[in-house]
Symmetry: C2
Subunit: 323 residues, 2 copies
């Protein structure tokens, strides 16, 4: 199998990603041709995973396929977009049929669940690198952005944080195997918050996915909006697996949820007038939404404990701390 | 400079790619937001270049920036699309400011010439790999495809072929330095045939770019169209640099233009009724268009010399020969 023939590689994906009637021409020509219905904007993101950098070398190829798409869908979720089409640029050391079938299985399962179709790509020989480009749709002018947060807006985060960072750090550790396994699932099979992003259209004033870590990404949101934030570090929701693996007096209790990264949850801000609708969104999506602080005038993040005392960040992982 | 912050990397591109009024949100959020005007289809392609595979390690980063975009624009040209937006996924061993500035210069110059704006991307640490995803527009239903060739259609190719393959093969050779330099320019700075692609809308019955080599890509076109082809291998236009570097009785005289690859020219088919318009297209675009054969019923490529005798392909580079 020639590795530079994407048509051949794409056979592994046949039937695994959905058919869509907005695709005029899919895989097999110089480019794909698609149509965007009137009244909609197109949302486009791309993200690369490099072996040994973004996933451990022993990662199951099913998980690599899942995660390569998931990290991209997470960007669409943060914009409130409905997934439509994906392209896959796959650099592989060799054309390994078993690896490709497993990768396609992971990619295809999530694509099916998300309604996103694979419409094109490229395969090249080289060190294992996966770049996915995703396209989604939003009603015109309704994309969620980073720059709409205003002083007084409440800050929310979805799900529970810190488990993916724990999985990475504790891979070789002697710890509760069930909790390790649960945290490893968070690292390898992140679930993009697409339904939540959709539900936040017209409700959130700003949104971002927190793949770089909560504080770093909230810092990006604040910078884009020209505001600051006050965070209660004890209110930040921990993933259940983290609470089993780490004690509250360990610095990682704070480090991992605040700065560990690889949490594909959404952080978003909500104006006062819309607060009352948040509980309904949590219920309809089945995703926990936790209020962790408030947007302030000025700039920078101020982190406090529940008792009001100042929080001092730990040694590692805070290079992005502040605006 | 943190290598995972595309916003920072993107500063090198600031002002180098054009502003466009169909971009609602460019670099700096989780995703870009763009709008497609009614009555248009969207054309999307992605291509990866890997160091040491797609360009020699000693390649000037200006050329890498140019070529990474050019090979993608060539796919848009083959579809007859007008370039609109690009995303750049850049994997780099280190954040080298001089390298990035040079890369951005090459990418930006071609982007400006082509009217394509950089709207997003990702940067990661790892072995040098460049994936570009491009988006173009065509009037609804007017994209050029591979599958419309019919028996009796004439086969044309643009420009002159074989120089890029010569540049790769003769890098260390003792040959005419001016011709070597000219062929190296074809390898490093391919010119996507965008104006030609546009002019072929409604005129060509099928089109493809011949990055994999003329015979391989014409084979793809024939296969997609369910037809065969007869080619006069002596009519295939050679690039002037090739004619200086190679003698007509050398096997490379045929091998490189027919199968060398890295020629970002277009091969296209034209029905009888439209033949008379080809000369005007060549004149308006300033690109030589050479008739090299004819589409036949059945399947497979039949290659003949000008005198009608059968052409037997050389040893190397013909693995894609035939359908």
């Amino acid at each position: 199998m020639p590795l530079n023939e994407f048509d051949l590689i794409a056979r592994y994906f046949a039937g695994l990603t959905p058919a869509r009637d907005d695709i005029r021409l899919g895989i097999g020509d110089d480019a794909a041709v698609v149509s965007v219905p009137p009244g909609h904007d197109l949302v486009i993101a791309t993200d690369t995973l490099v072996a040994g950098v973004h996933f451990p070398p022993d990662t199951d190829p099913v998980a690599i396929g899942h995660k390569a798409l998931a990290v991209n869908l997470s960007d669409l979720a943060a914009m409130g977009a409905d997934p439509a089409w994906a392209l896959l640029a796959l650099t592989l050391p060799e054309a390994d049929a078993a690896w490709l079938a497993a990768f396609a299985e992971g990619f295809g399962r999530l694509a099916s669940e998300s309604g996103i179709a694979l419409i094109g790509g490229d395969t090249t020989r080289g060190p294992l690198t996966v770049t996915v480009t995703v396209h989604g749709r939003v009603p015109e002018g309704q994309a969620l952005t980073r720059n709409g947060a205003r002083p007084g807006d409440a800050i929310y985060v979805s799900g529970g944080l810190g488990a993916a960072a724990a999985a990475l750090a504790l891979r070789e550790a002697d710890a509760d195997p069930d909790a390790l396994q649960a945290s490893r699932l968070r690292l390898d099979y992140p679930e993009p918050r697409l339904a939540l992003g959709r539900a936040l259209r017209g409700l959130a004033s700003a949104a971002i996915d927190i793949s770089d870590g909560l504080l770093a990404d909230l810092g990006h949101l604040c910078q884009a909006s020209g505001v600051g934030a006050e965070i209660d570090v004890d209110a930040v929701p921990r993933h259940p697996a983290l609470t089993q693996l780490v004690r509250g007096d360990d610095t990682t209790w704070y480090d991992w949820p605040l700065a560990g990264g690889d949490d594909y949850e959404l952080c978003f801000t909500v104006p006062d007038a819309a607060q009352s609708r948040i509980a309904a969104v949590a219920e309809s999506t089945g995703i926990a939404l936790t209020r962790i602080g408030e947007i302030t005038p000025g700039e920078g993040l101020e982190c406090r404990h529940a008792d009001g005392s100042a929080f001092r960040p730990g040694a590692g992982g805070y290079q992005h701390f502040g605006p």
